[in-house]
Symmetry: C2
Subunit: 334 residues, 2 copies
């Protein structure tokens, strides 16, 4: 594996390395057209490929960003990632994706590795468990943006769904369909993960807004593995809910499994609205009414914010939370 370097090209084209460098950086103005030809030729013959690592070292810029997602299993995460990648490709920026698996230790490790690799910035779906690390980065003015979650005390640009509104839309639709006993189930609330907390909050607010009682037996936040148990419990009540708001796609799978195992009929026995659009919503029987997030726009926004920050590290554009509006997609499960 003979590596051919700029020096080889320079020698062959009988110019100096810097001229070759100029050529590569398309600063053609400073170059006799004929010199340019010679360089072109040499590059072609030698099959020269620039070494970006060397360039990065010099420029202190790798044209690579890191994305750390809390949990890659959510459709939401993968869609956001795809959108970030698309946006970055347009700017010739590469993306390294890491999955923290909801584990702050893994997250910390990735942050360190990625920074050691000199990525130009980070988009993170924070686990919330590394507040000091987050803050250190902010103080250094290292480019970073959060997605999906905000972290108390950490002041950084963040891209989020208008979660309260999402719940509101669902409740409103349930009510419109005549439901009075409405429940909500989502993943565990112990770590105060933003979307879960906000969606529950929005749910309660919406209930009140519609003059419905708030029955805490109808509201559950549980580990995915315990969702079914929670459901059993809820449906053993003398007056179980007739409608259920499902907090995210992973929980939805559990709910749908439960429904199937217990031969419930949707929406007669139980009306369902899930937050997060899932690929099989349309073909499911019955088609699933969902609240969708504008993942494409959100990913794009996150990427743009980060790229801007990378461009001018200096200018401190004021930090803010960017909220995106959810959309109710009415099908037949409610």
């Amino acid at each position: 594996m003979k590596r051919v370097t700029m020096a080889d090209v320079a020698k062959m084209a009988k110019v100096s390395k810097s001229t070759v460098s100029q050529y590569l950086n398309k600063r053609y103005e400073y170059m006799a057209p004929e010199t340019r030809k010679r360089i072109e030729e040499a590059i072609r013959v030698l099959g020269y490929q620039p070494n970006i690592v060397a360039r990065s070292l010099k420029q202190k810029r790798t044209s690579t960003i890191g994305v750390i997602v809390a949990n890659i299993l959510h459709t939401f995460s993968t869609q956001i990632i795809r959108s970030i990648e698309d946006t970055c490709r347009e700017h010739d920026i590469h993306v390294i994706v890491c999955n923290a698996d909801d584990d702050p230790a893994k997250e910390a490790n990735y942050i360190k590795m990625l920074r050691a690799k000199q990525v130009d910035g980070l988009i993170v779906f924070p686990t919330g468990g590394n507040i000091d690390l987050y803050q250190a980065m902010i103080q250094e003015r290292y480019p970073i943006v959060f997605v999906d979650r905000i972290v108390e005390q950490v002041n950084v640009d963040s891209v989020l769904l208008n979660n309260e509104r999402a719940s509101y839309l669902a409740v409103e639709h349930f009510v419109k369909k005549g439901h009075q006993r409405i429940g909500m189930i989502t993943t565990s609330l112990i770590r105060n993960i933003t979307p879960r907390v906000e969606r529950i909050k929005g749910f309660i607010t919406a209930l009140k807004a519609h003059n419905l009682p708030v029955n805490h037996e109808y509201i559950k936040g549980l580990e995915v593995a315990k969702i079914k148990d929670g459901l059993s419990e809820m449906f053993r009540l003398k007056e179980p809910p007739t409608a259920l708001l499902v907090g995210n796609d992973l929980v939805l799978m559990e709910v749908l499994n439960y429904v199937k195992e217990n031969s419930l009929i949707i929406p007669q026995d139980l009306a369902i609205i899930g937050i997060d659009e899932v690929p099989f919503a349309n073909i499911f029987d019955p088609p699933l009414t969902t609240i969708s997030q504008p993942t494409f726009e959100m990913g794009k926004k996150a990427a743009q914010l980060l790229l801007e920050k990378i461009e001018d590290q200096e200018r401190s554009i004021e930090v803010k939370i960017h909220r995106f509006e959810p959309k109710l997609i009415i099908r037949s499960s409610c």
Copy 2:
């Protein structure tokens, strides 16, 4: 953003850069325990983080590999990627994933970029459109492995499903259930994509093995967007198939949509088996019988093969095709 370098650490610990380097590389034998203490302390105080880019330049090794998938929309691709990432993480190797979108030009571009970035090796789901590029890499002995597809004339380690067997399993099950008129539909065959071709071939072989006639009106390879038209055509035949083998998950979505739109009952009107396990197979109504691929093992194997090659670039372990066995998961759609 004050970058602290090894020189700073060295100065503070009153040693030379090389000693610090030794420390970082854990060559403690060559070091007075007390020197070591001082270095540790300096690193801690300064908050020093090594610059991996500089190291990579020197070592000619980035501890990063690239993965180029032909089409990220397949569940298969994302599962393989996850498995590759898991395996690589264990070896402290980072992964950059790129989606060629079934476009050879994009693929070529990514190969060049990734190599310019000095990734240590490449795992690619080849589009099949860059034979010369593939061959150049092989001649250079650049570490590379193919997944999912083989390319004529390109002799490289490849990880694939035993595709013919996959079709065989399906046909066998259809026959067992009493079906005689069995069809197959998959994505376009024009570019000779390995799994499609092999699955069709296996399908025909299996039909013959069961003494069933091969009716070419029952076999279709079409762009995703045209799947539904193909289905219409097939079901307008006087004797339409009673069972359908679906070539992959993307096609399955189309088929299921068609089924829904035309109010067909599965499996009475049409029995279905899909190649590729899909997340909603269980909760679908009826639950879907599928042929699953051992994606976890396949991704792991691909990563291991690549990592081995990277370890000893020299030793030319003989090139071969690694086949993995599909599994029939019987549910209710057939």
